[in-house]
Amino acid sequence: MKKIYKYSLATIVLSLSLVGCSITKNNSVATMTDDRITTGSIKNNSIQGSTLKTDIKVPRVFYFEFDKVMLSSEARSALRLHAQSLRSNPAKIRLLGHADERGSREYNMALGENRGNVVRDFLIQEGVSSSLIEVISYGEEKAASSGSNEDSWAMNRRVELK
């Protein structure tokens, strides 16, 4: 998976304006002439990660309650940022849905898929093209934490964005 971090045009423009009034080179996002800023449109794949690397670590794993598929508010804010990035720079993503070990394995496969679908639907709602997203459920087959206790189970009920 390509790791390109770019979260908002505003951030980009802001950082460029802080740099000064020189003119950006390749991959121009904004062109500056005489201290005046004119925003340009962002073309697909026109931004390279190196020029826009950010320190913001947006979570790529989203956690769920037992037998539940509701997104937490933290997950929603993180997904909004991912959606923004995917809108401006479409890339294929996979959403890997997981469940904790309790209950039946195939039911947990369905639960993992439902969780993946909830994340997918949120991204679509935020403007990401559905054709970019594939949901794959692993059920309880790929635990992130191997213990049989509440802490491990909480770590395992998740969707990973890849």
Partner: protein, 425 residues
């Protein structure tokens, strides 16, 4: 005196190797098991590669219904009926005695064996079993079946096999294996090895093939594999879930779950026409189909009522009927071959147990007392079931009789073991 000649068909996956990775610990037996003596088999010549009498003894002991008399206490080792002194066996408290003698004729072993009732000094039967040189274990299981059935009236299931999945973690990598062994854990054979998860093995009714789910393509997909020649074929390649395959008892179809249309639905797949038919249409989860013995209906798990419960689907008219009402989590149904006993995962007091429900009188019975029990599978004679559980943070297989009188564990020596599937006869 009826004589039965038995030639057991040799499958290519049966070999001489008897290195069992699974061993048996009996944790609970019934109160008054039948005392039986299995006299060592008499034969001339070199030592046999397998201790036939010991295998029979272990089989009967594991059923929980028998208490075999220790060989070291036996006063004589009769090989034929005329050598029996019933007094020797009455002293030991034996209710039944099994004797036998083996001869090698050509490339075949021929075992003549007899079951006797000690108290009345009565011969129950004498039978003959024949098999090739590599089949001493098969012969032992067959004799166990005959003895078990003659005494209990229930068909034996010692000649069956079990498929299961193991996983072993090392250096952050997990190795998954699909295995098949005798139901006593012996003659373990590797069927598939993968770095990706393997799930949900299900037997063909002739016990020559397995269907299962493998993630080797990066997505879950259903595969069919012949055990004798390892030929395999990918049967599904849809977006979303491709899972929970279950082979119909008439051999013609698979039931499975696909979510290609948006959410998990029950389908059947005609193996000859290679055609899928969708049978459920509900926004809830529908999964884990399992066939009734007559191949006319399916039981499955659905959360359409708000929590996972078991439903029955009649295929000819698509009628769906809810079967379970007690508890907020009933899943992974399996119907016993009697068509009456439903076996499932049942949650009670936040713990997941194996339970049975009698479909005629509705009686619910919890059979296991560990807390993470799953994947129950019933023996073809409906006497025992195997399931997976966790003990000391390791996945192990456990067995329990359907009346909960007998329990034993089959711990693996390495890694986690799970998803047992008991083969048909």
């Amino acid at each position: 005196m009826k004589k039965i000649n038995l030639i057991i068909i040799l499958f290519a996956f049966i070999s001489l190797s008897a290195s069992a990775e699974l061993s048996i610990n009996i944790t609970k037996g019934i109160d008054n098991p039948t005392k039986i003596a299995i006299a060592p088999l008499s034969f001339y010549g070199n030592q046999l590669p397998e201790d036939t009498s010991r295998i029979i003894e272990d089989n009967l002991k594991r059923s929980g219904l028998f208490d075999p008399i220790s060989r070291k206490n036996m006063l004589s080792f009769p090989g034929t009926i005329k050598d029996i002194y019933f007094r020797d066996w009455k002293i030991l408290g034996a209710e039944y005695l099994v004797i036998g003698s083996l001869i090698l004729s050509g490339d075949f072993y021929e075992i003549t064996y007899s079951l006797l009732e000690v108290h009345s000094s009565r011969l129950v039967f004498t039978k003959i079993a024949k098999g090739s040189k590599g089949q001493l274990r098969d012969l032992s299981h067959h004799i166990s079946d005959e003895v078990y059935e003659a005494i209990t009236g229930i068909e034996g299931a010692f000649s069956t096999k079990v498929a299961y999945v193991t996983s072993l973690k090392s250096n952050n990598k997990t190795l998954y294996k699909l295995m098949v062994s005798d139901v006593d854990g012996a003659r373990e054979r590797l069927i598939l090895e993968s770095n990706h998860p393997i799930m949900s093995p299900s037997w063909s009714p002739d016990a020559k093939e397995l269907v299962y789910v493998s993630f080797e393509t990066g997505r879950p997909a259903v595969f069919r594999q012949n055990l004798a020649n390892a030929n395999r074929k990918q049967l599904t390649n849809f977006r979303g879930l491709n899972g929970a395959p279950s082979w119909s008892p008439d051999g013609k179809k698979l039931a499975l779950v696909l979510s290609k249309d948006g959410n998990p639905e029950i389908y059947t797949f005609d193996l000859r026409k290679e055609k899928f038919i969708r049978h459920t249409n509900h926004f809830a989860i529908d999964t884990e189909p399992n066939w009734a013995p007559d191949s006319k209906s399916l039981v499955f798990t659905s959360d359409r009522g708000g929590s996972p419960q078991i439903y029955r689907l009649t295929l000819k008219n698509g009628e769906v009927q809810r079967l379970t009402f007690r508890g907020s989590y009933n899943a992974r149904p399996r119907l016993a071959s009697n068509g009456r006993t439903l076996v499932m995962i049942h949650r009670s007091a936040h713990q997941f147990h194996i339970a049975t429900q009698d479909l005629v009188n509705g009686d619910l019975r919890i059979l296991s007392n560990t807390s993470l029990d799953e994947s129950p599978t019933v023996s073809p004679n409906s006497a025992m079931l195997l399931y997976a559980t966790k003990i000391n943070n390791r996945g192990v297989l456990a067995a329990v009789s359907l009346d909960a009188g007998v329990k034993f564990l089959l711990p693996s020596k390495q890694g986690d073991v799970r998803e047992p599937a008991w083969s048909p006869k």
